[in-house]
């Protein structure tokens, strides 16, 4: 226990150095902008920013990228509340009650309660990381090849099944990602796989151009292909200071949301959508008058916002201690760390204690900066919210092209992105979610390596995966997840399931076909 405080103090010493403080502030500021700007999200931002961070020192890089990530999560609620347009799936739930509040002229309290509950959840989330991550890292020392194999599969299946698009097709995307991950020289035998004699493919396909194609380029092609007028902000902000009644009403929902989100976030592959949705459902279930929900109930903003942010922080735990990303964003963060020569896993707290505790301390500081940044500057963010897309997409295009080039200073990577765009566009039009592809591409080599090792130590006996208790748990969880999604789908018939999924996605796309 005292260890943790000692380590945290050490972490603050690192996070408070001028350069790291600057990176933290820069990350939080960029993140806030990305959260409010239409048509750009964390994944697009990461496709652009990762190559830039390769020139930075590892601690500064991860501090800034993390800041972008949680900063964006913090400010996502703004466009949900003001425009009824969630920037990411996790913010859909905030629309349910946040936008009705704005229509009733209570946008100010909605925004401030969202910011306050985010701040609270963030503080708790950081504490959960500080206290829980060492435990998990200790437990992870028991992990051997079979455990890593099955937890990788659990993460991939989980990430595919929680997608709001067709789940089967998204599993297919994960398989394509695994295949892309095998391109290049096989480490065991030196055989060049799928390189077709092209020397540039020896080291494999870099994930940055694929991410740029999946998230930046095809998103632009899809949006422009279906663009309609953006809604304008209807309500004015009168008062950002919430009434005492608002705070009192939000207190327990915030606590419950934080607890729920913080817990769910630790499980790999769940994603913040599940957390915020579950928190909303819990509040609606507990409410004395459930009819208020959907008509501007402040609890319906506070609880999911808290859950969303708590899980956004605790998602760092599986990534840092196991090397298992909770979603595409974390897969890319892991990829960035690996480029810097840092392998996330149980040893990270020992081998890279500065980075680990410095990051945790910086998250706490960043969270505080966000609170100071968000509320007083709310007018500025609302202006950004109305930035026309015709200025945003050329920016994304140019910066992403430069980013692809900067990875290895070769034009080949930009061409990889251009070709990948065609496939990515087609598959996204066909209801395939792109995130699991990038997760699989980054996890693929780990999965293959551990599968090979597991089969080697077990003499080719696949029962090794169910004879070892931790591995067996992951197998059972994977099967339970599949059952939980497949059985209801069969019972209800697929059409109604699809309708629910599309209903949830509708505001996110925010555009019909002309």
């Amino acid at each position: 226990m005292t260890d943790v405080f000692h380590n945290l103090a050490h972490g603050f010493a690192i996070a408070l150095t001028p350069s790291n403080l600057l990176y933290c502030w820069l990350g939080a500021l960029l993140g806030t902008m990305i959260g409010v700007l239409p048509g750009i999200n964390v994944l697009i931002a990461f496709s652009i920013l990762l190559p830039v961070t390769y020139h930075m020192d590892p601690i500064g890089a991860i501090v800034m990228l993390s800041g972008v990530y949680y900063g964006a999560h913090h400010s996502l609620s703004t466009s949900s509340i003001m425009l009824n347009m969630p920037g990411e799936s996790s913010a859909i739930v905030i629309c349910f009650d946040g936008h009705p509040m704005a229509k009733q002229g209570r946008a100010g309290p909605a925004l401030s309660i969202a910011a306050l509950s985010s701040f609270f959840a963030g503080c708790v989330g950081v504490l959960i990381i500080a206290f829980f991550a060492p435990f998990l890292a200790n437990a992870a020392l028991w992990f051997q090849a079979p455990e890593y194999t099955t937890v990788c599969i659990l993460a991939l299946v989980g990430a595919s099944l929680v997608s709001s698009k067709s789940k089967l097709n998204t599993l297919g995307m994960a398989c394509i990602g695994l295949i892309l991950g095998t391109v290049g020289t096989d480490l065991h035998t030196g055989v060049e796989r799928f390189t077709f004699g092209n020397l540039k493919l020896d080291h494999g396909i870099d994930f940055v151009p694929i991410a740029a194609a999946l998230f930046a380029f095809s998103e632009i092609a899809l949006r422009l292909g279906a663009l309609t007028e953006r809604p304008r902000i209807e309500s004015r902000i009168r008062d950002v200071i919430p009434r005492w009644a608002d705070i009192r009403q939000s207190l327990f929902p915030t606590l419950r949301g934080t607890a729920l989100g913080g817990t769910l976030g630790i499980l790999p592959g769940t994603g913040p959508f599940i957390a915020s949705y579950a928190a909303y459902a819990v509040e609606k279930g507990l409410a004395k008058e459930p009819g208020r929900f959907g008509n501007g109930a402040i609890e319906g903003v506070a609880a999911p916002e808290a859950a969303n942010n708590a899980s956004a922080f605790t998602h760092f735990i599986p990534m840092l201690t196991l090397g298992i990303p909770a979603g595409a964003v974390f897969a890319m963060l892991m990829g960035a760390l690996e480029v810097q020569g840092i392998q996330p896993g149980p040893d990270i707290m020992v081998n890279h204690a500065d980075l680990f505790w410095g990051l945790i301390a910086s998250m706490w500081l960043g969270n505080l900066m966000l609170l100071v940044l968000n509320l007083p500057l709310v007018g500025v963010w609302l202006k950004l919210l109305e930035t026309p897309y015709r200025f945003i997409y050329p920016t994304i295009l140019l910066l992403a092209c430069i980013g692809c080039y900067a990875v290895n200073n070769q034009t080949f990577d930009i061409q990889v992105a251009a070709v990948a765009l065609l496939l990515a566009y087609a598959l996204q039009r066909l209801d395939c979610s792109p995130g699991p592809l990038i997760i699989a591409m980054i996890l693929g080599p780990t999965l293959e390596e551990n599968l090979r090792r597991a089969m080697l130590i077990s003499d080719g006996d696949p029962s090794v995966f169910i004879r070892r208790p931790i591995s067996a748990t992951f197998v059972v969880l994977t099967l339970a997840l599949i059952a939980a999604f497949v059985i209801p789908a069969f019972r209800r018939g697929r059409s109604s399931d699809r309708a629910v999924a599309e209903g949830a996605e509708a505001p996110a796309l925010a555009a019909d076909v002309d």
């Binding site: 089967l168 097709n169 398989c175 796989r193 095809s218 015709r390 065609l422 039009r429």
Partner: protein
């Protein structure tokens, strides 16, 4: 430019998976498969390709069994073509002509419809973005990015 595809999304997605799966499987078989105890370089790709093929088949079968056609919504294809051509042009130009020309090609192509209705706006966008990129990436982050063709 518009597309109207009445085939079900799942059938098409399944077909893409099936093709990628089968092609990968055939390619992977050219590498040594090995035995489970000592997996060769072809084992894992072949395994994943097999799973992908099965997913493709399942997606097609599910869609046919369901019988409700889930048609692909209409989108204009022009933006896709413009983005693709713009990115490709950028990749071909960046090392030969430098950022200033490559960025003009990219933005000019990607904003082509706007270029006809409001060329001034596109020009301003181009100048601001290129200046920003040159200052931040080349000067601040010291990236190996030529600005002009004589560099």
């Amino acid at each position: 430019m518009k597309t109207r595809l009445t085939a079900s999304k799942d059938v098409l997605a399944g077909a893409i998976f099936l093709v990628i799966g089968v092609v990968t499987f055939l390619l992977a078989r050219r590498y040594e498969l090995g035995v489970p105890t000592h997996m060769g370089p072809g084992f894992f790709p072949a395994l994943v390709a097999g799973v992908l093929t099965l997913i493709g088949v399942a997606s097609i079968v599910r869609s046919i069994a369901k019988q409700d056609v889930d048609p692909i919504t209409q989108y204009r294809l022009q933006p896709l073509v413009l983005v693709f051509v713009g990115v490709l042009a950028f990749s071909l130009l960046i090392e030969r002509t430098g950022l200033v020309v490559a960025s003009a090609a990219l933005i000019g192509i990607a904003c082509f419809p706007r270029l006809r209705t409001n060329p001034i706006e596109v020009l301003v966008t181009y100048v601001v973005l290129t200046a920003f990129a040159a200052i931040v990436f080349v000067r601040l982050f010291d990236m190996q990015l030529p600005l002009f063709w004589w560099e």
